[in-house]
Structure formats: structure tokens, C-alpha cells
């Protein structure tokens, strides 16, 4: 049973007069519990593909079904609710709220749930514990290193217990050691907690942590390479 299936997804951008075709009929199936790395040259459309299956962008054509829901048909409001419930985001530049502490940043997506204040605190603390930052709860993002900030972002992504975690170049802005730390964290999420992860990267060291790799080039996906069983 596939968790995610893309069928004939077409996406192009309009730049002035001309249209730039980014994805020309991409089809892809991702099973629950997978950890897939999407690789490819810069500008090949990796982020675009990731944005589409995370429901923050819309395809021109095709279907995207996640956990049985065709998200292409959802209205803005419904799509936002769907994202809140099903998607955990990890960005290249962490995208934490600078005025909020680590704990408050992780608590942020829980504001959209019906959890009580105490429950939110408890969950956020637990998530930060999991990423090894229990001693940094009250720190603001600018008081944390890049690696620590990205771990806060990982905690924010997993705190809502999402169906799918999407990560766009999660190590793109990190030094080698911090990158390795974040990658092993993602591996643990996948292996120990069974989280499905789709990660875009052009860093082969990072891609090596995934279970499978696919290459995107000139709007088309290559066949998948299995890295681990």
C-alpha cells in the first residue's frame, strides 16, 4: 500500500512571456515508512516536486494522493488543515521564529491542535529531548548554532506526529559534523519511529543515509536506487 502516489504531475512556471516547464509528467509511488532522497542538479525541480507533495504548491496537471486523499482537489482552507495534520517541514534555513524560544518554536504547530497548554508544553519538551536539546529549551534561535537550530526544526516537524516529513536540503547550510548529526537524527526518526521521510539534497553524503535515492533531471525522474533493505 503506497502512502504517496503522484500520477502524471505537470508543473511549469511563467516567467514573463515564456513558460518554464519544470516537471513534465512525473509519476512516483512512496510507501509508508520509506526514507527517500531526491537528488539532481540545481534547478532540476527537486524543491518544486517536494512542495507539491507537501501541499504548499499546486500542480498544473496530475494527481497527488497522500494517505488516500487527493490533495489537488482540496481548497486553500482544507489544504492548510491537511498540512497541519499530516506534514512536518524541515527547511534548509531552519525557518524558526526568531522571537520565540526553542520550546515555543516547537510548540507553535501545536497551537493548531486542540491540546491544552500543559499538553503542548509537555509534547514540545519531549520532542526537544528526542533531538538532544533538553538543555536549550529557553534559547532563542540566534543563541543556537546552525546544527542546533536545525534540530529544533526537526523537533517542530515531528511534534505533530505527521504522516510525512519533508526536508528540503536539510544539511545545505550546515558544517559536516552538524550535518551528520541531523542526518542520523532523521535516520532514527525513520527507523525507530517509522516516520516516512522525503528529503531533497544534492549532498551525496546526506543521501547515503536514506533507504532509496531517485534522481531528477530535465523534469523526469530516474529509476529508484535501493541503498538499504
Amino acid at each position: 500500500m503506497n502512502l504517496i502516489s503522484l500520477d502524471g504531475v505537470v508543473k511549469s512556471y511563467r516567467r514573463g512571456e515564456q513558460t518554464v516547464a519544470v516537471l513534465s509528467g512525473v509519476s512516483l509511488d512512496i510507501g509508508a515508512g520509506e526514507f527517500l532522497a531526491l537528488m539532481g542538479p540545481s534547478g532540476s525541480g527537486k524543491s518544486t516536486l517536494l512542495n507539491l507533495l507537501a501541499g504548499i504548491d499546486r500542480p498544473d496537471e496530475g494527481h497527488i494522493v497522500v494517505a488516500g486523499v487527493d490533495i489537488v482537489g482540496l481548497g486553500e482552507r482544507a489544504l492548510a488543515d491537511w498540512r497541519a495534520a499530516h506534514i512536518g517541514f524541515i527547511f534548509q534555513f531552519y525557518n524558526l521564529m526568531p522571537v520565540l524560544s526553542a520550546l515555543e518554536n516547537v510548540e507553535l504547530p501545536l497551537l493548531l491542535t486542540s491540546l491544552s497548554r500543559a499538553e503542548r508544553r509537555q509534547r514540545a519538551t519531549l520532542a526537544l529531548q528526542l533531538v538532544g536539546l533538553s538543555d536549550r529549551l529557553e534559547h532563542r534561535p540566534n543563541e543556537l548554532s546552525g546544527g542546533q537550530q536545525q534540530r529544533v526544526a526537526v523537533a517542530r516537524a515531528l511534534v505533530v506526529d505527521p504522516t510525512l516529513i519533508v526536508a528540503d536540503e536539510p544539511t545545505g547550510d550546515l558544517d559536516r559534523d552538524s550535518a551528520a548529526e541531523v542526518m542520523s537524527l532523521l535516520c532514527r526518526l525513520n527507523e525507530e519511529m517509522g516516520k516516512t521521510i522525503v528529503m531533497v539534497t544534492h549532498d551525496s553524503r546526506a543521501a547515503a543515509h536514506a533507504r532509496a535515492v531517485m534522481h531528477l533531471d530535465k523534469g523526469e525522474l530516474s529509476r529508484r536506487e535501493e541503498l538499504r533493505a
Binding site: R77, R83, P98, L100, L108, P109, L111
Partner: protein, 385 residues
């Protein structure tokens, strides 16, 4: 971690920017309050005017007087309970800049018609007994240091010569709205002196003050009085004291309109400044709005952040501005002495200031709010990459 906390911390992110915006707001709201109070001060006389009193004057113009014989006839009009007289004196105390109103009045009953002037009864009797006696208002007495028993000399402009008076009583206002910057003396003293020095200018009454037993009949009685003197040598115009006072303000109406315009201009300028600040803020934070939306927050949440921040800054600036209006207006009132007899910040002024504050906060956030609501997630996220 509530939304309010996020809004407040956002507001304090650029401390200097927020501080400068706040300063602008405080100055604007304060200036607005002061200008509004100046306008109020001009209308204070009309506002405090009693509706139970009529003023009868020469129909042609205030510069022309009426004969003393009218008093008896007015008194006989049904519904009139008392009649008194007053002449504008227009003298100079030492220097022309020391302006305050002076009136020659009927010492026997003038203060009976003006219960808002509170005078000690024995001091009032002293005034009535002394032909050169004068009654001065508390504010006037404080401005020039007049005390009971002091001699005061006014240089006449309309009535030539130096006029000597002795302060016999000081009156207080029954409440804040009463003008206590006036100077009253005996009409008889004026009239007798004129009889000696310029007989043709004697026996002239500036205005009659008419007290009504039933204020509801003001229009009817005004008409009745004027009919008495129709087709005579000096026809009269009778109107309520309020209308009479307003006719003075209308002479400077253009200035009042200009002041009102300026005060709203000040608010408009701070609105533009504030809107610019909020727009800058919104643009800088587009990646954050995109992130929040990606996480599933609806557009109205990010709009709330901007509107909340704008309102919070406006509220702090507005409240400070309003709070400062009181001491600054008091100092202004003292500095201008008797120029503005009543210089108090009215409830209406404070309400207008509060309304302007709210308006600035909301309007300044309108465009940035719209912008934040429309930030496209993918474009917003791309902006930092």
C-alpha cells in the same frame, strides 16, 4: 505561548524603529489634543453660557449702544424675572498684551444673574458700597497678583483716561467651565465720569442681560422684547447668551477651521509614517509568514499578527499622548494666562484622541495585513534562499 506574546515580541524586535514610531505617535496625539483644546477654549464661553439668560443688544451692531430707559420696559415683559446691564470697557492694564475682559455692570444685581460666579457675600457688599470697587476672577487675580484692597489702574481705549479701581472681591467659578479671568466694576462709575468729561457719551448701555423664569420660552420672549423697540431709534436684537457668545466665535471661524485641519493633518502624517513602518515590517517577515502558512496557519492568523502589532504600538503611543495632554495643557493654560479663560482638556478631546489612535493602528495595518495574507508560501520561502 499565546499569540499575544508573539505580537508583543515582534513589536519589540526593532527597538529603535518602534521607539521612533512611538515618539511620533505620542507627539501627534498630544498635538491633536492641544489643538482640540484650543478650539474648545474658544467655544468655552458659548458652552458655559446659560440658556436661562438672554442678551439684548443694538440690532445694528454691538458697537452701538442702547438707552438706559429700556431696562424698565424689558422688565415688564412677561416671563422676565430680572434685568441687568453691562458695557464692554476694553481698557489696557499696563501693556496691551495683558489682555482680559473688563465690564462695567450694574453693581446691584449683576451677580444675581450669574450664580456661576461665586463671591463671598460680605466682599460683595464691600464692592457694592465702593463706587470704584472692582470684582476680579480668581485666574485673573492669580495671573497679575491682584489682592482685595489693591488699587488697579486701567487705561481706557474706548473711554479715554486713566481709570482707578480698588479690588473689593474675588470670584471663583462654580465649576471648571466658568471663566474666572474677567474684571467687573460699577456702571455708575463709568456713567458719572462720562457725564462730566464727555456728556454726549453718557447714558449708554452696551447690552442688557435678561433672566427668564422659564428658559423654555426663550425664543418667544426674545421676539416679544424686540417687538417692544421695533421702529424706535435703537432697535434691539435679543438672543440667548449662547447664540450671543457663538456670534463672537464665528468671527474667527476661519482660524478654528484651519486649526482643526492642521490637527487632522498631523494625524494623517503619523498614519503615513506608521503605515510605512508596518509595510516595511511585513515585507521583512514574508519568509516567516510563508513558514507559518506552510505549518497550516490560516491567512487570518498572519493578518492578526500585523494588525495586533500595529494596534499595540498605536495603543501605547496613543495612551502616552493622551496622558501627556493633561499636564502639557495645564502648563499651556498657565503660560497663556488670561488669553484662554478656560483651558481644560474635554472628554470629547480624549475620545477623539482615542478614536484617532485606534484609526491609525487599524489603517496602518490594512495594506501590510493584506500583503501578509497574500504572501505565497513557495515565493515567501524562496525569498530567503
Amino acid at each position: 505561548m499565546q499569540t499575544a506574546k508573539l505580537i508583543l515580541r515582534n513589536a519589540l524586535r526593532h527597538k529603535l524603529r518602534t521607539a521612533l514610531t512611538l515618539l511620533g505617535l505620542v507627539v501627534a496625539i498630544l498635538a491633536f489634543g492641544l489643538l482640540s483644546t484650543v478650539v474648545d477654549a474658544w467655544y468655552a464661553g458659548a458652552k458655559a453660557a446659560s440658556t436661562a439668560r438672554l442678551i439684548t443688544r443694538n440690532a445694528i451692531s454691538l458697537v452701538f449702544s442702547l438707552p438706559p430707559s429700556y431696562e424698565q420696559k424689558i422688565r415688564q415683559v412677561e416671563g422676565v424675572s430680572q434685568v441687568s446691564i453691562a458695557n464692554w470697557f476694553g481698557g489696557i492694564y499696563k501693556e496691551p498684551k495683558n489682555f482680559f475682559p473688563q465690564f462695567a455692570v450694574d453693581a446691584h444685581n449683576y451677580f444675581d444673574l450669574f450664580p456661576e460666579f461665586v463671591i463671598d457675600p460680605s466682599a460683595r457688599r464691600d464692592f457694592q458700597r465702593d463706587r470704584k470697587g472692582a470684582v476680579v476672577g480668581r485666574k485673573l487675580a492669580e495671573t497679575y497678583g491682584f489682592k482685595v484692597g489693591d488699587g488697579v489702574t486701567l487705561k481706557g481705549t474706548i473711554f479715554p483716561g486713566n481709570w482707578d479701581f480698588v479690588v473689593r472681591a474675588i470670584y471663583d467659578g462654580r465649576d471648571q467651565s466658568v471663566d474666572t479671568s474677567q474684571f467687573f466694576f460699577h456702571w455708575d462709575y463709568l456713567n458719572e465720569t462720562m457725564k462730566r468729561t464727555a456728556p454726549r457719551r453718557a447714558n449708554q448701555v452696551g447690552i442688557y442681560v435678561v433672566e427668564l423664569s422659564n428658559p423654555g420660552r426663550a425664543a418667544e420672549i426674545s421676539r416679544e422684547i424686540d417687538t417692544q423697540f421695533a421702529n424706535s431709534l435703537a432697535e434691539t436684537l435679543t438672543e440667548t447668551e449662547k447664540a450671543f457668545q457663538l456670534s463672537f466665535v464665528s468671527m474667527i471661524e476661519a482660524i478654528v477651521v484651519a486649526i482643526r485641519l492642521v490637527s487632522f493633518l498631523v494625524i494623517f502624517i503619523i498614519l503615513a509614517v506608521m503605515a510605512n513602518t508596518m509595510a516595511m515590517t511585513a515585507r521583512e517577515r514574508s519568509a516567516e509568514y510563508a513558514t507559518l502558512k506552510a505549518l497550516g496557519f490560516p491567512p487570518r492568523f498572519v493578518v492578526g499578527l500585523i494588525v495586533g502589532e500595529s494596534l499595540a504600538i498605536a495603543a501605547v503611543g496613543g495612551c502616552l499622548g493622551i496622558a501627556l495632554t493633561f499636564p502639557v495643557a495645564a502648563a499651556f493654560g498657565r503660560a497663556t494666562g488670561s488669553l484662554f479663560p478656560v483651558f481644560t482638556v474635554s472628554i470629547e478631546t480624549v475620545a477623539l484622541q482615542a478614536a484617532c489612535t485606534l484609526g491609525v493602528g487599524l489603517v496602518a495595518a490594512a495594506w501590510p495585513g493584506r500583503y501578509a495574507a497574500r504572501v505565497n508560501i513557495v515565493d515567501g520561502l524562496r525569498a530567503i534562499a
